[in-house]
Each structure stands twice: as C-alpha cells, then as structure tokens.
C-alpha cells in the first residue's frame, strides 16, 4: 500500500547517502480539514539519536507512524531504510506466543532461536525466554519488545513513547538500557516523547513539533550520562519547557 513512500535508503535519489538514515522533504498529512503535518523537513544521520517533542496532538506520533509505514504519506518525499523497527507505547507482544517466539516473529535469518536468545540476554530477559507475555511485568514486556526490535538489526529504530506507561524507576532503567543498546548497535533512533528530561537525557538532537511544523531543532552536546542538575541541562530544559508553553 505504501510502495511509493517506502524506498530503501540505498536508492539512487541524489540526496541519499550512506550517512543519512532518514530524509523527509515537504511531508504533509491531513485528516479531513485538519492538517496534522505541514511540510515537514527532517534529516536523521545514520547512528544519530533524535528525540521528537511536542504537545499531545502535535502530530509527533503521526510523523513516526508515517516513517514506520503505518500511515500513508500523501504529499512529500520520504526516504526511510527498509530495515527499520518500531517499539510502541504498549509492548504489543502476541500473547499466544512465548517470549522468544515473539522475538523471532517475522525474523528472516539463520538460527532465529539463537539470535532471539542473544537479544533477550542483552535486555536482561534470559530467564523469561519461555514465559507467556501476559505473565511479564510492564518493564519486562517492554524489554521483550526492545529485543524484538533489535534482533532485526535495524538501521532505524522508531520509539513511540516507549516508556510512557512504565513507573518512574523502571523508566529510568529502560532509558539506560536504550542508551546502552543504541551505543552497541548504532541504529539511527527517532524517539517520540512528551518528557523533556527524557529527550535531553538521551538524544543528540531534540526537535519540537508545533502546529504540524518543526518549530525547534536543538543540538544537545553534553557528555553522557547526563546530570539533570548540570547548568546547561537546566538551561535547555527551561528553553524547551518555555517553547512548550510550560514556563515558570
């Protein structure tokens, strides 16, 4: 259905290069009268971690879904690697398949079980290989979803508010885990979130979507792990919160 919008990254388009994971030009998306995205331009370098902030209804999830190939893109050009994975806010594991079978679902590789075991070991779920998904805790299920995404060795990892439904402590652990996995595997990452601190802790670059346009593009040049009480961190947080309309 999305044939026109889903071109592999190695296509011969002039602006495509091995250094670019995502190239979006003039992406517009309308639902009836409402235009959710208005001429979005977005480039994500290979291996770059980009966070996408925005109020609810700002179209950030629509942008991610368009990149994921779940929503059609009627106008604009879109270059996305064919090899991409998505982690949603809910784990979306098939409840009738054991955890490792969920990880191998759709995986076309030799010895899928060994790869699933390796991926689950990486997210710390070696002991739940044969568990039923509905018996997992929220954090465990989301880690299984991460393993399912990473086992495909994606060039682009799309994270749609993946920690929003987790408790604060689990969320911090998951953020550390995602950072470690991103370092180890070097995919380009687009993290959609409404949490300014999360965006600033994880991303190389923070984008803010407003009225269907990218209103802010902030490069975060702070060494990791980032201290939330460091002066530049606080300054950037204030700037972003003000832009979101939550100033003190």
């Amino acid at each position: 259905m999305n044939m026109l919008t889903e071109m592999p990254a190695c296509s011969s388009e002039p602006f495509a290069s091995r250094e670019t994971a995502v190239e979006v030009r003039g992406l517009t998306r309308t639902y009836g009268e409402n235009s959710v995205l208005q001429g979005i331009d977005l480039t994500i370098r290979a291996g770059e971690f980009v966070a996408l902030l925005g109020r609810s209804g700002s179209g950030k999830s629509t942008l991610l879904r368009t990149l994921a190939g779940l929503d059609p893109a009627p106008a604009g050009s879109l270059l996305v690697p064919a090899n991409k994975s998505v982690v949603f806010q809910e784990p979306r594991l098939m409840p009738w398949k054991r955890v490792w079978r969920n990880v191998t679902l759709g995986l076309r590789a030799a010895d899928p079980k060994a790869r699933a075991e390796a991926a689950l070991a990486e997210v710390g779920l070696s002991h739940r290989l044969n568990a039923w998904p509905l018996t997992l805790s929220g954090g465990e299920a989301q880690r299984a979803a991460l393993a399912r995404a990473l086992v495909r060795e994606p060039a682009l990892l799309l994270l749609d508010e993946p920690f929003a439904a987790l408790d604060a402590l689990t969320r911090l652990r998951m953020q550390e885990l995602v950072t470690a996995l991103w370092r180890a595997h070097q995919p380009a990452v687009l993290l959609v979130t409404h949490d300014v601190d999360e965006a600033l802790s994880l991303a190389d670059r923070v984008l803010m979507l407003e009225n269907g346009k990218i209103a802010h593009d902030l490069t975060v040049e702070l060494p990791r792990p980032r201290r939330h009480d460091a002066a530049p961190f606080i300054a950037m947080r204030e700037a972003l919160l003000t832009a979101l309309g939550v100033s003190h």
């Binding site: 998505v86 949603f88 809910e90 979306r92 098939m94 009738w96 398949k97 039923w132 509905l134």
Partner: protein
C-alpha cells in the same frame, strides 16, 4: 479513634465453623434435594407415576444398562450428535473464515447468515422430514444446522475483533498477509471459536432431543418416548439423566480443550 480499632482476625476459624472441602460443599444442595425427593416419595407425598423415588430411578437405570437397552441407544444418539456437530462445525468454520478474512466473503455470506439465524432452526423439522424422510439424515441435518450458527457468528466476530495494535505490530515486523493470518488473526480468534464450540454443543444436544422425539426408532429420545407410551416414568427420568450426563461431559471436554489451547491466558482459572 474508633476507626483504629482492630477488627478481630480470627474469622476463618471461629465464624464459619466446619471447613469442608470445596467439592463437598458444592454437593450439599444437590444431595439435599435428592434426600427431600427420596423422603417425599417414600412417605407417599409424590406418586411413583409422576415422581418415582431416586432409588427407583437408579435401579431402573441399572436395569437399562444390564439388559442392554441403554448401550446401543446411547451409541445411536452419540453418533447423531457427533456427526451433526462435525458437519456443523466444519460448515460454520469454513463460512466464518471466508467471511471473516475476505471482504468478498463478508459481502457474499454475512447478510444471508445473519438473516437465516433469526429463524429458529427447529422450525425446519417438518420441512426436513418432507425432504429427507424419517431416517438419520433429517436428524443430523437439524443438528448440523443448529451447530453451525454459533460457530460462524463467534468465529466471524472474533476475527473481526482482532486487535488493530497487534495487526500494526505484525505489519512493522514485516509479516506477509498469510503469516499475519496464521500468527496473529487465527490465534486471536481461537477463544471466540471455542466459545462458539461450547454454544454449538449445547444447541446440538437440544436439537438431538427434539429430533429424536419425532419418528425415531432408536436413540435415547426413542427410549424416552417409548417409556411415555408405557407410563414408565422412571425410564423417562433415566433418559433425562443420560442427556444431562452427556451435556456435562462434552462441555467439560471443550473446557479442558480451552485450558490446553489457551494456556497463554493467565486469567483462565484452572478447572
């Protein structure tokens, strides 16, 4: 500080008194009913012609077994139900899959089935007898017809109710249409199908009872109708007992099938 007063915590030992095993506690009401019944019959409160004593019914049940009247008739009835059920489940499944999985199937089948299901299938018995005579065929057709509707309706509904979020996940995981059906849609529809199977079983037994009371020359229904003609009330009760045992047993079978096939549902209590 009245609220802070501790509630006595010795309730389980003191208040409920005797702690009986669950199975025994559940047997209390039926056993009490049987006892009352037995006493009522023994004291002449009920006549043997209308309500024979449970002991009498048990004796005639035993008699039916040892004289070889029960076995062959039971086998006949079981065969009717199993053949009818198998045919009905097959038809219901095929139609349910076709309508559930394809737009063409839905348009072609669903409106007709939804219309046909409003007609009580037992009303077709006279027509079935005209068409198929009074042999086994009309009985099996009636059972199959009755059983096919719950299977179709539940399967179709369950397929259409498959979680859109899981379907999106399967798209993202790169599953083909066929793989999505096999790994996502059908497993998601299985609980609905099994529910349909249990309903189909219930309808199959009802259909059997009705079908067997018309022009049957064998089967539990024949036994019962024969007993009516000879005023053998105890044998009528024996027939009811057999129907009850059969219904209960087959329902148990489907339930254990559920426990086995739906092991992934932690909410399902062990029965």
């Amino acid at each position: 500080m009245i609220l802070a007063k501790a509630v006595p915590s010795s309730r389980p030992t003191s208040a409920s008194g005797l702690r009986l095993p669950k199975g025994l506690r559940r047997a209390i009401a039926p056993l009490a009913l049987l006892a009352i019944w037995q006493v009522a019959a023994a004291t002449g409160f009920t006549s043997p012609q209308t309500m024979p004593a449970p002991s009498l019914i048990a004796a005639s049940f035993w008699n039916l077994i040892v004289t070889g009247q029960l076995g062959p008739n039971l086998l006949t009835s079981l065969t009717r139900v199993l053949v009818g059920l198998a045919a009905g489940v097959t038809v219901g499944t095929v139609l349910g899959l076709f309508a559930g999985l394809t737009k063409l199937g839905e348009d072609a089948i669903d409106p007709t089935v939804q219309m046909a299901r409003t007609l009580p299938h037992l009303a077709l018995i006279p027509l079935m007898i005209l068409w198929f005579g009074i042999g086994e065929t009309p009985k099996i057709v009636i059972i199959a017809l009755g059983a096919s509707f719950p299977i179709y309706l539940n399967l179709f509904g369950a397929i259409r109710a498959a979680d859109v979020k899981l379907l999106e996940a399967s798209t993202v995981l790169g599953l083909s249409w066929r793989e999505t059906i096999w790994h996502v849609v059908l497993p998601a529809a299985l609980p609905g199908f099994l529910l349909g199977l249990r309903q189909a079983l219930g309808i199959a037994w009802i259909s059997l009872v009705v079908a067997e009371q018309i022009n049957a020359t064998s089967g539990i229904g024949y036994l019962v109708m024969n007993a009516r003609d000879f005023l053998q009330t105890d044998v009528i009760f024996d027939g009811l007992l057999v129907y009850a045992i059969l219904g209960l047993t087959t329902d148990r079978l489907v339930r254990s099938l559920e426990v086995h096939l739906l092991a992934w549902r932690p909410a399902l209590p062990n029965r």
